[in-house]
């Protein structure tokens, strides 16, 4: 790898990715100027009127702002935790399975939903949880009153988190399974010779072996604290659910694209990006400290 001529072609291979990054992620960054403008699409952002911090002042003036930031953090943090714990438990359980063919089957089946888009899945969810849907029929067998799930703001965040975990846990399990294969089998043998039960072995061998992976995944997901999942919520919510389900991204979308409040929407989006950026830097620092993880 030290050989320069050997590494050169890696740079060439990197090039398309860099071009893509520049075009898709860096060039549009100049659009954040809109947050400080009374943006007029006819004039473009070079000639629109510069109004400084007005959009931000108005943003903090709005009752919505606190609500949407609160909703976003609440849903996103729950998602982060659930998406760490559920796949971990599932991966360990899978690992303990004796029949390897069964293990493959289960693994494949549980990660299938990952490849479906939220547009399709939300349609399915709306049907499953509808007033006359299967969930309510099940409830009625036990004599419970049917529940209008998508009119209950108090339940919505949990439906969002639950369905997100259901969709993604199979895929996240793969990462843990990969880490599990890295644990030296002789450790298990030693433990069982010492008379450790299955649970003991999980506790003293498997979990410590996974520690770095868990910490790393946890720390890296910090950057997502303000990403509660636009396409999922957008396809599931309605005005009744705004109080608990309206997140930054859906709000920005409605305000910016539906109501043509470009400046305001960009301001909120920019604030989100700034906070996320700080969190990502922090998470990187934490990752290098606790998990010895370095990119550069």
């Amino acid at each position: 790898m030290r050989n320069r001529s050997f590494t050169k072609h890696y740079y060439v291979m990197l090039l398309p990715g860099l071009v893509w990054l520049a075009l898709i992620s860096i060039v549009p960054m100049f659009g954040i100027a809109i947050a400080f403008e009374d943006f007029n699409p006819g004039r473009g952002f070079f000639r629109s009127e510069w109004i400084g911090w007005d959009n931000f002042e108005y943003m903090f003036d709005l009752n919505d702002t606190v609500q949407i930031f609160g909703n976003t953090v609440f849903i996103a943090v729950m998602k982060i935790i659930a998406n760490l714990v559920v796949p971990l438990v599932f991966a360990i359980m899978l690992n303990e399975l004796r029949f390897t063919s069964m293990k493959r089957w289960i693994q494949t089946i549980v990660y299938l939903p990952h490849f479906l888009s939220w547009v399709i899945l939300s349609g399915i969810l709306l049907d499953i949880f509808s007033y006359t849907g299967p969930v309510n029929e099940l409830l009625s067998i036990f004599g419970a009153e049917p529940i209008l799930f998508f009119a209950r703001a108090d339940l919505f965040p949990y439906i969002v988190v639950g369905s997100d975990v259901w969709k993604e846990f199979g895929f996240n399990t793969i990462i843990y399974l990969a880490a599990l294969t890295g644990i030296n089998p002789s450790l298990y043998e030693a433990a069982s010779i010492d008379g450790a039960s299955r649970l003991r072995r999980i506790w003293h061998v498997t979990l410590p072996g996974l520690r770095t992976t868990i910490v790393l995944l946890a720390v890296l997901s910090l950057g997502n604290v303000l990403n509660a999942g636009f396409d999922q919520i957008f396809n599931l919510y309605n005005p009744l659910l705004y109080s608990s389900g309206d997140i930054i991204d859906t709000w920005v979308y409605r305000e910016g694209l539906l109501n043509m409040q470009y400046g305001l929407a960009t301001a909120v989006g920019l604030l989100k990006s700034v906070v996320s950026f700080i969190l990502i830097v922090a998470s990187y620092a934490l990752a290098s400290k606790f998990a010895n993880y370095r990119i550069f």
Partner: protein, 571 residues
């Protein structure tokens, strides 16, 4: 533009020719001042008449790109045809030599609006578009639109100008900014804004009930519909009053004042409440209808109805409001006159006995039906600044007005490129009346000769194709939808849907149908507050007294300032 230069060229040619014949050999006609000016003047009237022909066919095919809204559930296009290439686009190509190209298409409604907004914000516009009022204003502000003042004056057909005049200048006002005309407005029938009660008369008959006149009656009928198994399938699965779908409106408002299908507008009307409209209070000052005590009263009633299970449990949540109507679950819904176009065709396909009839009900405590009226123009055809043939759009619309009655409407007219409704504002009531008179034999088809009622002649000709004897009984078994579904849609909408509008009813107009300055930034926030609060109150997720908090918040968060602006705007 190219037409102008063609005519200029022709005029010059004449000049050159006449100059040649006069001075023999002098090739530069323009220099030959005296001799040239005379024949040029003589030539121009005839050349101009050709240039300004409202239906003039282009000598060379020109291209016009546009964004198209399509109804994703429609499957009426014959094989091989597309939203871009169909009988209407070919008709335009054959008769005007305009090749219409769809730049992008989106599902009608919210999806199309988003697409337009995106096009506006990125300044990446097709040559022409159909837009809403707020979008028109944004585009004018951004300087994206061509000034149509001249081309409209020159090319609009007399019929189209006539429609404009009939709105007392309201339509022209809506598209004029700083004295320039920036769009061609739709001219809608006023019946598009009147929401009637559509009810299953076969269910009423079966249960021995009358159409409900008052709110108490309505409650009784809805209760009977829910509890007495009117569809006779032995299951407790019927819905009394159907409601709007997710993303649709509970009631029409001053910005979107027409065609609010499945909203609950008439129930608000029965309490003399007009939420979403700008009204005059007792002292003559503007006030927003949603914050008035009448609205609270109506909400209280709706809340009770919902709690009793008489309104669709999934109001505002359903993916499609059509669904319960089509599947024969719903007994009552509120919508404008044109339900014969949809969802009723699908409803009677499922159940040929589904006898949907329309009434101007329920009445208020004084026995009057109150309807909030729509703006005469809610859709606008705009042309991108810099497009070479702005008059092409005018010509296409001219032709739509002239030939609409000739088209085979088994393919919906919505596939006509840039189609917006254009007609006399009383067209549907007038046509319904005329049809009934012709059917009764009291008048002859020749008595209705005004070509401005552009579809009436065809309607009169077709009516007996789908309407069976007796002609004065509108129940569904006296119709023959299978004979011609397209014709049935129109005639049923007129005779059943528009007939009630011949009665006297109280028409309430909004003081304003467009946005003021502060609304641009604050309105969406206030609107969200309103939508959320009202729906929560009705569905029991918030107490009725949250209404008072809403009023206070609304005023504080910009409502008061906006009210002041409205006051200034209407003076």
């Amino acid at each position: 533009m190219s037409n102008k230069s063609v005519s200029l060229g022709m005029a010059l040619l004449l000049v050159v020719l006449s100059a040649c014949s006069q001075s023999g050999g002098d090739k530069n006609g323009a220099d030959n001042g005296g001799a040239a000016s005379q024949p040029a003047e003589a030539a121009s009237p005839s050349a101009e008449a050709e240039t300004y022909d409202p239906f003039g066919k282009y000598p060379e095919t020109i291209t016009l790109t546009y964004g198209k809204s399509v109804d994703p559930t429609d499957n009426s296009l014959p094989g091989g045809d597309t939203p871009e290439n169909n009988q209407y686009s070919r008709y335009i190509l054959d008769n005007l030599n305009i090749d219409t190209k769809v730049t992008w298409q989106a599902a009608s409604g919210t999806n199309y609006d988003q697409k337009v907004n995106l096009a506006i914000s990125s300044s990446d516009l097709p040559d022409a578009l159909v837009v809403k009022d707020t979008q028109l204003r944004e585009m004018v502000k951004s300087g994206q639109l061509a000034d149509l003042t001249e081309v409209f004056e020159q090319y609009a057909s007399p019929a189209m100008k006539n429609f404009m005049e009939k709105t007392d200048g309201k339509s022209a006002e809506a598209v004029t900014f700083d004295g320039k005309m920036y769009a061609i407005p739709s001219i809608q029938v006023q019946s598009d804004g009147v929401h009637e009660m559509w009810i299953r008369k076969d269910w009423l008959d079966k249960l021995g009930l009358e159409p409900p006149k008052t709110m108490e009656d309505l409650e009784k009928v809805a209760k009977a519909f829910v509890e007495q198994d009117p569809d006779g399938n032995g299951k407790n699965d019927t819905i009394g009053i159907a409601g709007q779908q997710n993303g649709s409106k509970l009631y029409a408002n001053f910005l979107e004042s027409t065609n609010n299908t499945f909203g609950l507008d008439p129930i608000f009307g029965a309490y003399q409440s007009y939420p979403g409209y700008w009204l005059k209070d007792d002292s003559g000052n503007p006030v927003y209808g949603s914050i008035l005590p009448e609205t609270k009263e109506a909400l209280g009633k709706l809340r009770d109805l919902y709690a009793e299970g008489l309104i669709d449990k999934e109001i505002g949540i359903r993916k499609s409001a059509y669904e319960p109507v089509v599947s024969g679950q719903a007994g009552i819904f509120f919508a404008p006159w044109w339900m014969g176009y949809g969802p009723l065709p699908d409803a009677i396909k499922n159940d040929p006995n589904a006898n949907w009839q329309a009434y101007l009900l329920p009445l208020d405590a004084e026995g009057q039906f109150n309807a909030h009226m729509g703006a005469p123009s809610t859709l606008f055809v705009v042309v991108r600044k810099g497009y070479e043939h702005p008059e092409a759009v005018v010509k296409m619309l001219n032709m739509l007005v002239r030939d609409e009655s000739k088209f085979d409407i088994s393919v919906p007219i919505g596939y006509y490129p840039l189609r917006v409704p254009m007609s006399y504002t009383d067209e549907s009531e007038y046509s319904a009346k005329a049809l009934k008179e012709v059917l009764a034999g009291t008048k002859k088809p020749e008595d209705f000769a005004d070509p401005g009622y552009k579809l009436l002649a065809a309607d009169i000709q077709n009516v007996t194709k789908v309407k069976k004897q007796p002609y004065d009984d509108m129940d569904i078994d006296n119709w023959d939808p299978q004979a011609d579904m397209g014709t049935w849609s129109r005639i049923y909408s007129l005779l059943v849907g528009s007939s009630p509008l011949e009665q006297d009813y109280n028409k309430v107009y909004s003081l304003l149908y467009s946005q003021t300055k502060t609304m641009e930034s604050r309105w969406s926030n206030l609107k969200k507050l309103e939508d959320e609060t009202f729906l929560k109150i009705i569905m029991g997720a918030a107490p009725l007294d949250d209404f008072d908090k809403f009023v206070a918040d609304w005023k504080k968060q910009g409502g008061d300032k906006i009210t002041e602006e409205v006051k200034a705007a209407i003076q």
